[in-house]
Symmetry: C2
Subunit: 500 residues, 2 copies
Amino acid sequence: MSDYPNLPPAYQNLHSRMREAALIHSTASVLHWDLEAYQPPQGSAWRGEQLAWLSGQAHRLTTAPEVEAWLHACEDAGLEAGSVAEVNVREWRRDYDRNAKLPAELVEEFSRVTSTAHAVWAEARQESDFRKFQPVLEKIVELNQRKADAWGWNTCRYDALMDVYEPGANSADIAQLFSELGPQLRELIGPAAERSARVPADLLAGHYPVAAQQAFNAEVLAAIGFDTTAGRVDTALHPFCTSLGPRDTRLTTRYSEENFLESLSGVLHEAGHGLYEQGLLAAEWGLPMGEAVSLGIHESQSRLWENHIGGSVLFWEKWLPAALKHFPNLAGHTPEQLTAAAARVQPGFIRVEADEVTYDQHVILRFEIEREIINGDLAVRDIPARWNERFEQLLGLAVPDDRRGCLQDVHWSHGSFGYFCTYSLGNLNAAQLMATARQQLRGLESELALGSYSTLLGWLRENVHQHGRRYLPQDLMRAATGSPTGISAHLAHLRGKYLS
Amino acid sequence: MSDYPNLPPAYQNLHSRMREAALIHSTASVLHWDLEAYQPPQGSAWRGEQLAWLSGQAHRLTTAPEVEAWLHACEDAGLEAGSVAEVNVREWRRDYDRNAKLPAELVEEFSRVTSTAHAVWAEARQESDFRKFQPVLEKIVELNQRKADAWGWNTCRYDALMDVYEPGANSADIAQLFSELGPQLRELIGPAAERSARVPADLLAGHYPVAAQQAFNAEVLAAIGFDTTAGRVDTALHPFCTSLGPRDTRLTTRYSEENFLESLSGVLHEAGHGLYEQGLLAAEWGLPMGEAVSLGIHESQSRLWENHIGGSVLFWEKWLPAALKHFPNLAGHTPEQLTAAAARVQPGFIRVEADEVTYDQHVILRFEIEREIINGDLAVRDIPARWNERFEQLLGLAVPDDRRGCLQDVHWSHGSFGYFCTYSLGNLNAAQLMATARQQLRGLESELALGSYSTLLGWLRENVHQHGRRYLPQDLMRAATGSPTGISAHLAHLRGKYLS
């Protein structure tokens, strides 16, 4: 008996094959999660072999010639437009072609070069010497250009690389957005930093035991709707969110006993990712209709809960009494003080330490440089000079060395180009989705003031989560908010929060 | 270039195939470990599918026809007697034949019957009604008899089932041992229980926070040599030890804040298993030369550290000062008092709650009944009567109902027959190994008094751990202690500890 009696056998074969691949990928996710959260150091060599075996199995199954034949048969069968099956087939085709178009020797060379690049980068960063990283980075750039050419592109080679993380992304559109966003942020930074400086640095000084932070975070997580019967929170050096199956979403965070806001905002961020994962269609989990559509949409969910909910005065009006029970030294503080302490603005050199106002400037810088490099408009050897020049324009600071400049990020050593812009797309999407939700949902503010988040979560489920990869990200934004990703909602949010 | 230039290509093929199987099995172990220690409840359905997929892959790879051909080629090649390769081939053949001799329809029926039996057993136990379990247990017994016949046996059908857990085991020998052990334990129980009753029940009453228990247990674990750069301790409802790779051994335990001795003895028990795993040859991990030889030897390692080390006055003479730092309410107690409080003897109905003196009586009972059933000397319907009669002879108590009698254990519902006796073999082996180590190692007592365990661990590594599956368990015991498993060392240990 077939699970899909009205669909062609080729669909049933594809579905069963891709579900098998999802089992393998999610098994690898369990191993990765453990590696980051629990594995003792000596276990990592064997773990690497386990992961390589799983990866080989999944690759073999998803790139086999019969997959191509099944795809053709499904495409010829005329599946109902907009049906789950049609969306799955369209996206399986996208994934298959992306793999099939890369020559095996390019994949191998990419893997070989990037496996050694990380150590070279780490040493170069340690010594703050870009020249040490330059030769391998030149090779990585060349390999990425060859990848882009193999995949094909219309107006701009960089688009082909961005498409991996943000399907359908057009770098000319994003460049246009960023060229408007940058100067307006630049104007905002000074006044916002000045206002921040008036909040005493030791306002929240105290000792915040990990167990108390975990208890408070758990209350907040439950309130926003993260389901801990289908997920959990662990500790890891580099916080992340991963799904190990359709009803098993793991968050990780880290704790500073001097500053409880670090784990709180971290958990809200990862829980935003986690709520998206928990909102995907469980029955299609691991298949396109049950998969997140892009990093820029994923990041919009994390930023929405971290900054628009957790970073608001409304949040602290609701949660300060509960926080006081766990952290008695907060007594005497107002919700406004907590909000301000959690939202300090100060330009700095390091992206991962940047506040909400300056963060996008770091991203714009990387986006511009990556695009110029991949499109052949900038030579790798000229990166440091270009970086430092643009950094001063965007953030008003002179970069003292490459360690705190163009060597700070790990991404390029992994071979990743086209990833950075999704961080800012996430910020822009978050603000735009939140503004639309506020317009559409009567009484939302009063619900949020009471600590009731189910209406908001329901709206996100309906407008974002349940769609999986049905729409391209920009079509999803149009459907949910009436227009593609723009900068006005984000700027209005920042001005309201940091200047009013 | 070959890894084994002097070995036939068939060996290289087998080695690579079995190493792949080890990667898969150990991946399943990661998933099982997470399932027991961390997985949120809703994740279990998908986890079941992941595990089934892995199990199918491993089965396919290890039972393929080419494996048989490679085994034949290796057997014909005349590998050097006693070499690693020869041991591996011999044991691969043992494993292969065990799988190959079972008809597929028997495996399927066994899997089908046991997958429903657990729920039937749980309900029968809940209602204390053996008649409810009887029909499915009759089927399970019949299937086990068919398994034993498919594998083949010489003097006794039950031997074939025991061989899975204890290779080479001879149930007539074990029956002889147990027939001597039972009456001698029976004589010991009364006086030991009487002496125990003089230790006040509230001697260690107090509150023992989990974090303090974890800190103290970690000190003890480090001292006995458990390497936490290649292992760790987590919390689980049913404590266990599992290896996820050659240098990644996970222990689990559970904590009672009223009784710190529960987690301490639990951790020492599991660490005993863990030290065996950490002492296996890492280069051959997952292959016979790097695998534990039997459950009876594995359990000897856990019992040795739990009872012979952790349960001794010497242990508390060393560790009481350290324990006091974590548990201030222990102030004023003597090492003798702690040892006595940790070693209370009182006959009871439940095996898993039994003390060191009464435990083997529970095992003897099960061993006798299983052997009679499988050999056709006892009908399943007569189990309750037989159980209750023998229980009273062995432990002097009248069993009030089947819930506290023959329905208490989960093993039969899983289809496991032949497992129970390995618990007592573990106790006997532990005492015998410990007695031999004491004879052979000068100054061992003074080292143990100082909390130095490396000489003892080194002796276990040399005489037990490093051999993997090189020897059958009884040959290993002969080589290590001069004689096969006997009862005298265990009885001497119990008499010394509980009567002197």
